[in-house]
């Protein structure tokens, strides 16, 4: 991982915008799926797949790769789109999302798409799997060689299983585990603080013996810096609470929980693409 130049940041912003357009296109075609979360996480996924991760899209099973565990599998449109743009599989395949026979299942499935580390969808269990991976790497004395990155949603912090994993990782002091919480403040039925308040979220994690950092989920420079900080923390696992705007980039979707679980219609998709195409970086 290296310094992010202004030029590189601009490059990433353009890439993230391409990924957002792919997300809209694939969801319009699929006629079902989640929109707000994937758009909100596009910048973070872009930064990871085009700057931070040690990985090789041409050799996805490279043993030394960093591991990415996506826990909230429903945001897979951003996962698939980023992987396609990074060269794991053709961008044209994105149009098969959720269709019969596709490798791009409605929620990611490792059997069909071996480039993903875990099948996911049911909430609250991805972090446990990442804890298991980080622990196994420590047992194998590989915890200095690579990181286990786990992406989770804020809504899935309602799950008891999440806190079981958070408690264990704190106990084990897993320095090779870095969690990114998509703090977009929405879940299916409304805003998180009304459905089941999570705040004070920072102090909850801290009291479980984690290193806690908050950051904007749309500022490449700051995001890159906090990941570097997380990698430097030696005695604890780190959680990065990334504040994201659900529906980011499409004005009529931003911050509206009703876009959590539905796709744009053809017309809405065209409006969204028009907006994204006209963004300047």
């Amino acid at each position: 991982m290296a310094f992010l130049s202004e030029e590189k940041i601009k490059e990433l912003a353009v890439k993230a915008n391409d990924i957002r357009m792919s997300i809209i296109e694939m969801l319009v075609e699929a006629k079902s799926g989640h929109t707000a979360g994937p758009l909100g996480m596009a910048d973070i996924f872009t930064l990871f797949y085009f700057h931070i991760l040690r990985h090789d899209p041409k050799n996805p099973s490279w043993e030394e790769r960093d591991r990415v565990v996506l826990s909230n599998g429903h945001i897979c449109p951003v996962f698939y789109a980023t992987m396609a743009h990074a060269g794991y599989f053709p961008v044209s395949e994105l149009k098969t999302l959720r269709k019969f026979g596709t490798r791009l299942q409605g929620h990611p499935h490792r059997e069909y798409l071996p480039y993903v580390e875990n099948s996911s969808g049911p909430l609250g269990s991805g972090l446990s799997q990442a804890v298991g991976m980080a622990l196994a790497d420590r047992m194998n004395k590989k915890d200095n060689n690579r990181f286990i990155y786990c992406f989770i949603s804020d809504g899935e912090l309602d799950e008891g299983n999440s806190w079981e994993a958070i408690m264990l990782a704190g106990k084990l002091k897993l320095r090779n585990l870095i969690v990114i919480v998509d703090r977009n403040n929405i879940q299916i039925e409304g805003v998180t603080e009304e459905i089941m308040p999570l705040e004070p979220l920072q102090s909850k994690w801290r009291s479980f013996n984690w290193h806690v950092i908050e950051v904007s989920g749309h500022d490449f420079g700051s995001l890159n810096e906090v990941v570097e900080e997380a990698q430097a923390i030696y005695e604890k696992p780190t959680v990065i609470i990334a504040h994201t705007i659900p529906g980011k980039g499409v004005s009529f979707m931003e911050r509206n929980y009703k876009w959590h679980g539905k796709p744009p219609s053809k017309e809405e998709g065209e409006m969204a693409l028009k907006e994204l195409k006209n963004l300047r970086f």
Partner: protein, 332 residues
């Protein structure tokens, strides 16, 4: 007579037949597995000694993970460790895992195809005085309906040890079902064991059997005693040890059904969805056969001694004999 080819324990009919914990057999097997294979790891949800995992934990503390009372985390962390090449065994009481951790097992172990062995101790009614909350009578059903999951339920301590060692070599995820109480030693170190293979433990001295008794788990000894008494009453039976519920030894079960044309299944589990259901599903499609089911009839358990409860819920020696006589009358 006992099947002479299987080298079973000759003292099986003695009043002082040696008894041992099936869960301790698992513990010994896991210790041996740990010595043979450094990738074997143990995870436990605050029941290390009760599930027999303490032998492994004491010998290999660096490969043991104390999870606390957190069964959902238990199985999902195991899935993550399997992703990095470990061979995790994760143990708790069956009521809590797979009882509480079922969806996590299905998604992160079976669907995700991560080779993890889920070990559920204290299954069945013979948990005894702890009462109905702790008596897992549904776990076979929960686990056998999940694709990509083997289900093993050993009959004694020695077989539990062999099953544990076999599961280290098996490529698939599995559920290993154990019971709390000591049970009589039926097998010996020489008795063959293979995942997916059922064996006839008791057979007529000469001629064909009239009824086939298929048993899984700790009730096998009672079934063999029942078979011996039935022989004295002039009823010839064969007793099959079906410790491998999934994969089911279709050839062996079919052969038994074709010979006897009447089957009794025996298990410490709800009749609905258990081993008997697995046998019935297969036979009804391939060779419809009269079956009587010995098991729990859609009830929860309660406190009592294991013997009291096994008798009360109709799984004792006399209940097995009655079921044999009943199915004999139904025979076409």
């Amino acid at each position: 007579m006992l099947n002479p080819k299987l080298k079973l324990n000759p003292k099986i009919f003695n009043d002082d037949v040696e008894q041992a914990h099936i869960r301790k057999g698992f513990g010994q097997g896991l210790l041996l597995a740990g010595e043979k294979n450094e990738n074997v790891v143990g995870l436990c949800a605050d029941l290390t000694e009760s599930t027999g995992m303490n032998l492994f934990a004491d010998k290999f503390p660096e490969r043991f993970v104390q999870m606390g009372v957190a069964e959902q985390n238990l199985v999902t962390v195991a899935s993550g460790m399997a992703a990095m090449g470990k061979i995790p065994f994760c143990s708790s009481y069956a009521m809590f895992s797979p009882g509480r951790s079922w969806e996590q097992i299905r998604t992160t172990i079976n669907y995700n195809d991560r080779k993890v062995v889920v070990v559920g101790s204290h299954s069945g009614i013979s948990v005894g005085p702890d009462g109905g909350t702790h008596q897992a009578l549904e776990d076979i059903a929960l686990m056998r309906v999940v694709p990509n999951m083997d289900v093993l339920s050993p009959c004694d301590s020695i077989e539990a040890k062999k099953a544990t060692l076999a599961l280290v070599e098996s490529p698939k995820p599995a559920y290993l079902r154990l019971v709390r109480e000591k049970t009589p030693i039926i097998t010996t170190e020489e008795t063959p064991f293979k995942i997916g293979k059922a064996e006839i433990y008791w057979m007529p001295d000469v001629g064909l059997a009239q009824v086939g008794i298929i048993v899984t788990g700790g009730l096998l000894h009672r079934a063999i005693l029942a078979a011996k008494e039935l022989e004295a009453d002039g009823i010839k039976t064969k007793v099959m040890n079906l410790s491998s519920i999934k994969p089911l030894d279709i050839d062996a079960v079919l052969a038994l059904a074709k010979e006897c044309k009447a089957i009794v299944t025996v298990e410490e589990h709800q009749i609905a969805g258990g081993m008997g259901s697995a046998v019935a599903e297969m036979l009804s499609a391939n060779y419809p056969t009269a079956i009587e089911f010995v098991g729990v009839r859609d009830l929860f358990g309660q406190s009592g001694t294991p013997d009291e409860l096994i008798e009360h819920y109709g799984m004792g020696k006399n209940s097995i004999k009655e079921a044999v006589k009943k199915v004999l009358k139904r025979k076409a």
